[in-house]
């Protein structure tokens, strides 16, 4: 186990110590014990920058289940390191923020930090694992810890609803990803991502390739809240705000993006990959930004905005994959999309994290997040207002913030789609820039709503629970750091281009010995992108001002078609359906279950008999019939059928006795003296028992003939027929060899007896007899117990 492994599992180890620290040091906020770890990890991962900047990677292996090819292989390359820095960096800031956000006297801090540390460790595991099974293990850990964190205030019904919903959707995707992992293993014989990538050319034409691709995409889309699986993210906003800032904007929702980026070298050769990712991404982008405008809750706006931005990154990754379809990736005109995806990934984490924290501050200081109640907070909270301006303007894509740069590159990528002449992109490709542009207009509108509806306009003190004032300094540190990063990256984007972006891009599109030039320019000249941005700003401003007038558009959208409604009714429909189905076939009637069992018996055996051509009728091996046998057969047949038609139960008991004695007679003529003896005695006792039982019946008033039921008749005739046919076939296929000869020869020689049946029972096969005696003993004890033991009070109907 190396230091790298220790770094990945250290949050898990610390999670064990957190409750102890919580119990021992009640005066100190537990967060302070947690804070050093992510900072330490962040500095540790910074030290890898020098390695990955040279396109190198570090791999450490630790044996876990070698027999199954599952080893905990940790690999740090450009992409993994980028995510690890995001996780630990934003993790430190979130922990710091949560120290001031959560009250140490009112909240159960021990559980909060345990869950948060579990999540942090799981997320580090996801991005640094080279083994797919290990990756999947950590992946489910993120789903699970996210579930715990969303349901942190478990006494609220909405929290529980949100937690359950996110669990169902992400675990559904996670399981499908596991399917994809297994398919990849079937194709390549390894779980190692590096080895799969190295051998990816061979699996391209494999028949399992497309199913594996789809399974992976389903996992990535559900985790990263892509349309139509985005519905869990807005409901996950019931979590405490630090959690929303950390999990649902910066890290967990990017696990799907990470997966797509990581698996790009394997799958991106296929046109389906490009189409699905770009298509779903751009749809999510549009739908998320369109839906965000109508929200009235600050965190709901941010949630839909996250959905939309994730769609944007996803679509960029899809378009970027197109570069692989051209001869030389090195000079490809289209790699800019991938660069933009990585760049925006970083930008989004910075500004969205700070915006969530701002929303949390507003909530904390005013008591509400509803923008209809908020307004005019600018004078009370100047610092928060400044932070909000920086975050939202960056989100809207305005200069001089980092969002502007990535939005320009996004437009560049989308416009270049027009020039691709593969996969029909020359015709359908036009949709991409159009959708991107319209979505950007909506992004601009909700960004403006977010900042101006909250901080400017009319101050409504009567709507607020508390008197608003500026947040404590400690709560402001984290968003200030993030907002400074927004500005720093905005002005000097190239400080991260060589250290973070190009190594990450090299991991997404590996080309041997090539270093991507990801220099980011502020000024492109008068390009179409610039005019698109100007158009976005102009139209955005106009629409924002006239928003009250066209807001009604959202009312036109039928609520019935909303995806949440579809999810809710689907879920309750499944429950109702399962309940009804069970209620229908499990109705408590023994007769019904017997009907199922007999019907199944008839159908299975008859179909096997005739489909497998097993039916055989061969009369050559049979013995001759004597007259006496015919008579006995008639008696037994007629007797058993008559039982069905007699009215009195007494008659049926007597007829049963008649059948039993005839069976004994059969034993006589078929030369089985012991059987005949036993049968006679036992039949006598049985009939006596039946009569006893009959005698003690509490006055059967209405003795009646068994009512005729056609289904019963059909089923019973079917059973009789199946048994007869199987008996025919079995006898016709009879193997001539019997082991009987051994018993005949050795009964006297070895066992010193002349009665072969008795010798078999007590000597050759004595074990059967022993347990048969046990059966009788148990029956006798059971009968005794039943009669003597009257725990229910008993005697209710006795001797009536």
């Amino acid at each position: 186990m190396s230091l790298l492994h220790l770094a990945i599992i250290s949050p898990f180890l610390l999670a064990i110590l957190v409750p102890i620290a919580y119990k021992l040091f009640r005066q100190i906020h537990t967060g302070w014990f947690v804070l050093p770890l992510p900072i330490l990890l962040f500095s540790y991962f910074i030290s890898y920058l020098s390695i990955t900047s040279d396109q190198q990677s570090v791999t450490e292996s630790f044996s876990w289940i070698p027999a199954l090819g599952i080893d905990f292989t940790a690999k740090v390359d450009g992409l993994g390191l980028l995510f690890a820095l995001l996780i630990t960096g934003i993790g430190s800031l979130v922990v710091l923020y949560s120290i001031y956000y959560l009250d140490k006297n009112k909240e159960k801090l021990n559980t909060f930090y345990v869950y948060l540390l579990l999540f942090m460790g799981a997320m580090l595991g996801v991005v640094l694992s080279d083994n797919l099974i290990v990756l999947y293990t950590f992946w489910e850990f993120t789903s699970f810890s996210s579930f715990l964190l969303i349901g942190y205030w478990y006494h609220r019904e909405k929290s529980r609803y949100g937690a359950q919903k996110s669990m169902i959707i992400t675990v559904f995707g996670g399981l499908s990803m596991l399917g994809g992992i297994i398919l990849l293993y079937l194709m390549t014989g390894t779980f190692s991502i590096s080895e799969i990538i190295a051998g990816s050319d061979e699996i391209f034409s494999h028949s399992l390739f497309v199913p594996a691709l789809l399974c992976f995409l389903l996992g990535a889309f559900t985790k990263s809240a892509q349309f139509p699986f985005h519905i869990w993210l807005p409901d996950a906003m019931e979590a405490p705000t630090p959690v929303s800032a950390y999990l649902h904007s910066a890290t967990m929702v990017k696990a799907g993006i990470y997966l797509v980026a990581r698996m790009s070298p394997v799958f991106a050769e296929h046109s389906l990959w490009l189409w699905l990712i770009a298509g779903f991404g751009i749809t999510t982008l549009f739908w998320g930004s369109f839906s965000a405008v109508k929200q009235t809750d600050l965190k709901a706006i941010l949630a839909f905005s996250t959905v939309s931005q994730l769609g944007m990154i996803m679509s960029l990754l899809g378009i970027g994959a197109a570069a692989l379809h051209f001869e030389t990736v090195e000079d490809s005109y289209f790699t800019v999309a991938t660069t933009a995806a990585v760049f925006h990934l970083i930008n989004h984490a910075t500004f969205k994290g700070s915006l969530f924290m701002v929303a949390g501050i507003v909530d904390h200081e005013t008591g509400t997040r509803d923008i209809r109640k908020l307004g005019g907070l600018m004078n009370f909270m100047p610092i928060t207002f400044t932070l909000a301006i920086i975050g939202t303007f960056s989100m809207a894509g305005l200069p001089p913030f980092n969002g502007f740069l990535s939005k320009e590159m996004f437009f560049t990528g989308m416009v270049r789609v027009l020039e691709m002449d593969i996969f029909n992109l020359d015709t359908w490709g036009l949709l991409f820039p159009v959708f991107a542009w319209v979505a950007s207009v909506f992004t601009f509108i909700y960004s403006m709503v977010l900042v101006f509806r909250t901080f400017t306009g009319k101050f409504q003190p009567e709507q607020l629970e508390k008197k608003p004032h500026e947040a404590p300094f400690g709560m402001l540190i984290s968003p200030i750091i993030l907002a400074s990063l927004v500005i720093i990256i905005g002005f000097f984007p190239n400080i991260i281009s060589n250290t973070l972006i190009s190594p990450a891009q090299a991991a997404i599109m590996p080309v041997e010995g090539y270093k991507y030039d990801t220099h980011i320019y502020f000024w492109h000249g008068f390009t179409p992108e610039l005019f698109m941005t100007l158009g976005v700003i102009t139209l955005g401003v106009l629409l924002f001002i006239s928003l009250p007038k066209w807001r009604r558009v959202y009312d036109l959208f039928p609520e019935k078609l909303a995806l949440n409604r579809f999810y809710d009714s689907g879920l309750s429909g499944i429950q109702r359906g399962a309940y009804r189905f069970t209620k229908w076939y499990m109705n408590g009637s023994i007769r019904n279950y017997l009907v199922y069992i007999f019907t199944f018996f008839i159908i299975t055996l008859l179909s096997v008999l005739f489909m497998k051509d097993a039916f055989k009728f061969d009369a050559s091996n049979v013995s001759a019939i004597r007259f006496s046998e015919i008579v006995l057969a008639l008696v037994i047949g007629v007797g058993s059928i008559t039982i069905l038609f007699v009215k009195s139960r007494l008659t049926s008991i007597i007829l049963l006795g008649a059948v039993g004695y005839t069976v004994a007679l059969f034993f006589v003529i078929f030369r089985a003296p012991d059987l005949a003896l036993t049968q006679l005695v036992i039949e006598t006792i049985s009939v006596a028992l039946f009569l006893l039982c009959f005698y003690h019946l509490p006055q059967i008033k209405d003795e009646e003939r068994m009512p005729f039921k056609a289904t019963n008749a059909v089923i019973s005739i079917g059973v009789g027929l199946v048994v007869t046919l199987i008996a025919f076939s079995a006898y016709s296929n009879k193997s001539p060899n019997s082991i009987a000869q051994y018993y005949i020869e050795n009964t006297y020689e070895k066992a010193a007896g002349k009665n072969m049946v008795n010798v078999i029972l007590v000597d050759f096969r004595g074990f059967d007899t022993m347990f048969e005696i046990t059966v009788l003993a148990i029956a006798a004890l059971g009968i005794f117990g039943m009669i003597k033991l009257r725990l229910g009070g008993g005697k209710k109907n006795e001797n009536k």
């Binding site: 023994i590 007999f598 009369a619 091996n621 013995s623 047949g637 058993s640 059928i641 039982i643 069905l644 139960r649 049963l656 039993g660 069976v663 034993f667 078929f670 003296p673 012991d674 059987l675 036992i682 006792i685 049985s686 028992l689 039946f690 006893l692 039982c693 003690h696 019946l697 509490p698 039921k709 089923i715 019973s716 009789g720 048994v723 007869t724 008996a727 025919f728 006898y731 009879k734 082991i739 009987a740 005949i744 002349k754 009665n755 072969m756 049946v757 078999i760 029972l761 048969e772 059966v775 148990i778 029956a779 009968i783 039943m786 009669i787 005697k795 209710k796 109907n797 006795e798 009536k800």
Partner: protein
């Protein structure tokens, strides 16, 4: 002979099934008794009904009937008897406690499902 016996066994199975599908508890137990008769005869028939002496060495015959199915049937008869006796007493106790032998009324507790 084996063909005739197979038909007889089929008839026994048929009436047993019909009885077991009825709603009177006593008839269901009669059905199980007939079913066991059918099964015993089936074992005997499938063992072959070729003529031969009874499986007693004292007979000093040239051929004997197969002793193994007879031993199996003997075990089965005893077990079937034990189970039938238990069932009968169970039915008797059920009458005493519940006052009905109608299977449609013996459905467990409503609302307890």
């Amino acid at each position: 002979m084996e063909i005739l016996m197979s038909v007889v066994v089929g008839i026994l199975f048929m009436s047993a099934t019909y009885l077991m599908l009825s709603k009177s508890l006593l008839r269901i137990i009669v059905g199980t008794a007939i079913l066991s008769h059918g099964a015993h005869l089936l074992i005997l028939t499938m063992g072959g009904l070729k003529k031969g002496a009874a499986p007693l060495l004292g007979e000093a015959a040239s051929s004997y009937t197969d002793p193994l199915p007879q031993a199996l049937i003997l075990t089965a008869i005893v077990i079937a008897f034990g189970v039938t006796a238990f069932f009968l007493v169970l039915a008797y106790r059920a009458y005493q406690e519940l006052g009905t032998d109608n299977m449609d009324k013996l459905r467990g507790n409503e609302g307890n499902d």
